[in-house]
């Protein structure tokens, strides 16, 4: 059994090559990376901390789908590459700064005072481990790199349920946010924690409408006038 890892080093020529490594059977993909590094090739670079699916650091693409390396058993011929829509730094390590900056842009924190009685409503949303699997699966980012993406919006939704002062965050997610989502559901499939960002985004749309916002896609249709207006 072998797996293929897409290696990347910006100082090498060519800077990306596919390398095949034997699989240590019975071990997770993360344990395989570790075995490769300590016994075959110390130059292989990857991230990983907790080994048990809660720190979010080891996500990679396996055959085009985001997986936590610590929770996946490799199969013969698996093709491993770094997460999508992230700048690759070296091998399987990506720069998560841009993706995580969406947390700031979207004000995904508690505004106002906490409503403790609403804690049970956010049980699932608060399980997010910031692994970026959903972000890596989101097709909107192909066309709009500034899209806030699924995990930030799920966090915003979580905090809107926990607080009664949500104007700042609802305002912050109108542009490049909830209305840009195509509701394809790829994020929901990708999430290793069973979170449903698509549903959370739909709920944020309802909350936005209640706050006086409209669906810009709908208003832009302009019933055949092409959104040019009358002036």
């Amino acid at each position: 059994m072998n797996i293929i890892i897409k290696r990347f080093d910006k100082y090498k020529e060519p800077n990306s090559i596919d390398m095949s490594y034997p699989v240590f059977e019975g071990l997770t993909l993360l344990e395989n990376f570790l075995k490769i590094k300590t016994t075959i090739d110390p130059t292989l670079v990857f991230s990983g901390v907790c080994r048990s699916g809660v720190c979010g650091s080891c996500s990679v693409m396996v055959n085009g789908k985001a997986k936590l390396a610590c929770s996946y058993k490799p199969k013969n011929g698996d093709y491993i590459e770094p997460l999508g829509y992230h700048e690759v730094q070296r091998d399987l390590i990506v720069d998560k700064n841009k993706a995580h900056y969406t947390l700031k842009t979207s004000h995904s924190w508690l505004n106002g005072e906490a409503k403790v009685e609403n804690s049970p409503k956010v049980t699932v949303q608060s399980d997010c481990i910031l692994c970026d699997s959903c972000y890596s699966a989101c097709p909107v980012l192909v066309v709009n790199g500034d899209f806030l993406g699924p995990f930030a919006l799920t966090k915003v939704y979580r905090y809107t349920l926990q607080s009664n002062d949500n104007k700042t965050s609802i305002d912050a997610i109108q542009k490049n946010g909830i209305w840009d989502c195509t509701l394809c559901g790829e994020c929901t499939i990708a999430c290793p924690q069973g979170i449903d960002p698509k549903m959370d985004i739909m709920n944020l749309r309802s909350k936005s409408v209640q706050s006086g916002y409209n669906d810009p896609n709908f208003t832009n249709m302009d019933f055949g006038f092409g959104g040019f207006g009358f002036d």
Partner: protein, 547 residues
């Protein structure tokens, strides 16, 4: 780079301290060797101890009892009395703790506790706390330096005042310094030295403790390591105490239950180790709970058994072993959490020894410690006024030279990954759950050999950027420093107390009702025992004459 408060480590302790210091108007930089939230805090499942006014004295008594005579009544009282405030603080930030059917905060019993006082958020308490703290840090515009690996503290040789630290910037490979008015070390524990035999994540190598020792500070009680009874046999992945709390059995390969599963962790771990040493296997048996109950009560555990052992808890016996889980010892601090013998340098969380856990930690007190003490550390560091104006310091140059030497003069004729694995193994078998004089001396001599061979080890990867081979190697160097202290402490503590069990001295001996103290003089490790009353003021530790 310059800031008011430099915090090293981005787990629960570091982030609580950061939020507090920022609230008090300080500029804060949090440096972490990974990304924020990639810390062991996220793995804490059990819960958070908080005691109301009726329970606080019992909470203090439970914690003191668990410390087996070497906990500080003053520090324990401080922590327990602040526990409710700490819980309220987390609730105000939006940590979604579980509620009971009446909409009140739900709590449960943990082993060793007289009253129900452990608050939880499903089986993801640590994760939810840590993520919420991080969101709060972003809200408060706290600066993070990611992929910054601590090398050394910047210290004035005469005044012993710490004015920052040097780091390997993993992303660029450059050595950099961050200067600060005060420094908080929150780098976590050292269970990772038991390589392959720990529930901890990668990198729990006691980096902060090693840095303090090199800077002339003190570490203490390193021999006290808590071993968790139920980790998966192949992967050492933690199976929560809840599995036994909910009615799980421990059986050996003859199908016999050999211990009361709900005894304290150290007693259960010893019983398991005895079975294993008789060439028997030990299993966790929860089959009688049924698949429906299991998926409701232990969803994480079901998933982990499936992934790591390929077993279904509902119909299979789960092979287990006891592995290193939590380290009670650490950086010796005074009652203000300031590192002894150093100035302007605070330590908090698992890396510190605030004499709260003593010889063994009470379940639910670790999350409480990182939050309540994190807030105190943030406050005390904010109030610290540096005595000296910054002087020239050559630590940055020294560390640049050290990194260059690893690239150019360390010969790499010995594979340190092999040594790391070997050390983990002999440490686990000889300085683990059950210890004795011969075994400890054997490991100590193997360890000293590795220290001698260090320059014949080295790195195969000569790249500058994201050289994790280099980070692993420096971590191994820290592990060697910390392990020496574990072994010396365990060897000289000729008694059994809490998590430290010597089969050649099975009784507790009050001659040793004291703290093991470690420091370096001219690069040589020195150790002695000090009574709690002598540790309670830094004065005595400062007065200790340097030999």
């Amino acid at each position: 780079m310059t800031t008011d408060i430099l915090i090293i480590g981005s787990g629960g302790a570091g982030l609580s301290a950061a939020i507090k210091a920022k609230e008090l108007g300080c500029d804060v930089v949090v440096a972490t060797k990974t990304l924020p939230t990639n810390a062991n805090t996220c793995m804490a499942q059990g819960g958070f101890n908080a005691s109301n006014s009726d329970d606080v004295q019992t909470h203090i008594d439970d914690t003191l009892k668990s410390s087996r005579g070497i906990g500080s009544p003053v520090m324990i009282k401080t922590m327990c009395e602040k526990s409710n405030d700490a819980l309220d603080w987390l609730l105000a930030l939006g940590v979604p703790f579980s509620l009971d059917d009446n909409g009140k905060l739900a709590n449960r019993f943990m082993g060793g506790s007289t009253n129900k006082r452990t608050y939880y958020a499903e089986d993801y308490t640590g994760l939810k706390i840590l993520q919420t703290l991080y969101d709060t840090c972003l809200k408060n515009s706290i600066t993070f330096k990611e992929n910054y690996y601590l090398l050394n503290l910047i210290i004035d040789e005469d005044s012993k005042e710490v004015s920052g630290a040097t780091f390997l910037d993993i992303s660029s490979g450059e050595v950099r310094e961050i200067r600060a008015k005060s420094v908080i070390i929150a780098t976590g524990g050292y269970s990772g030295v038991y390589n392959g035999f720990t529930t901890n994540g990668f990198g729990s190598t006691g980096d902060g403790i090693a840095a303090v020792i090199r800077a002339g500070g003190i570490a203490s009680d390193l021999e006290f390591v808590q071993f968790h009874p139920t980790a998966l046999k192949k992967s050492s992945i933690l199976i929560s105490e809840a599995a036994r709390g909910e009615g799980g059995y421990l059986v050996n390969s003859d199908g016999v239950r050999f211990i009361d599963e709900l005894l304290p962790r150290d007693e259960v771990s010893r019983a398991i180790s005895k079975e294993l040493s008789q060439k028997k296997e030990v299993f966790l048996d929860v089959r009688h709970l049924g698949s429906e109950k299991l998926s409701h009560l232990l969803p994480q555990e079901l998933k982990l058994c499936k992934i790591h052992e390929g077993l279904d808890m509902a119909c299979d016996l789960i092979p287990i072993k006891s592995v290193a889980h939590y380290t009670m010892g650490g950086i010796e601090v005074d009652q203000k959490l300031q590192a002894s013998r150093l100035k302007g340098c605070f330590a908090v969380g698992e890396c510190s020894n605030a004499h709260i856990h003593g010889a063994n930690r009470l379940g639910g007190n670790s999350l409480l410690e990182i939050i309540s003490m994190g807030l105190i550390a943030g406050e005390n560091a904010s109030n610290y006024t540096p005595k000296k104006i910054e002087k020239e310091n050559n630590q940055l140059l020294k560390d640049k030279a050290f990194i260059n030497a690893i690239y150019s003069t360390f010969t790499n004729q010995i594979n340190f990954y092999e040594k790391r694995e070997f050390l983990g193994k002999i440490l686990y078998h000889n300085a683990g759950v059950i210890r004795n004089d011969t075994g400890l001396k054997g490991v100590l001599s193997a360890l000293r050999q590795m220290q001698k061979e260090f320059t014949f080890m080295g790195i195969s990867d000569k790249s500058k950027e994201f050289n994790t081979n280099l980070v692993d190697f420096i971590e191994f160097g820290n592990a060697l420093e910390v392990t020496e202290m574990i072994l010396v402490g365990a060897l000289h503590r000729c008694e059994s107390r809490g998590a430290h069990y010597r089969e050649d001295f099975p009784q507790t001996n009050d001659t040793f009702k004291s703290h093991s103290i470690f420091y370096k003089v001219d690069g040589v490790l020195c150790a002695e025992f000090l009574k709690e009353s002598d540790c309670s003021t830094t004065a005595s530790l400062h007065k200790k004459s340097v030999k």
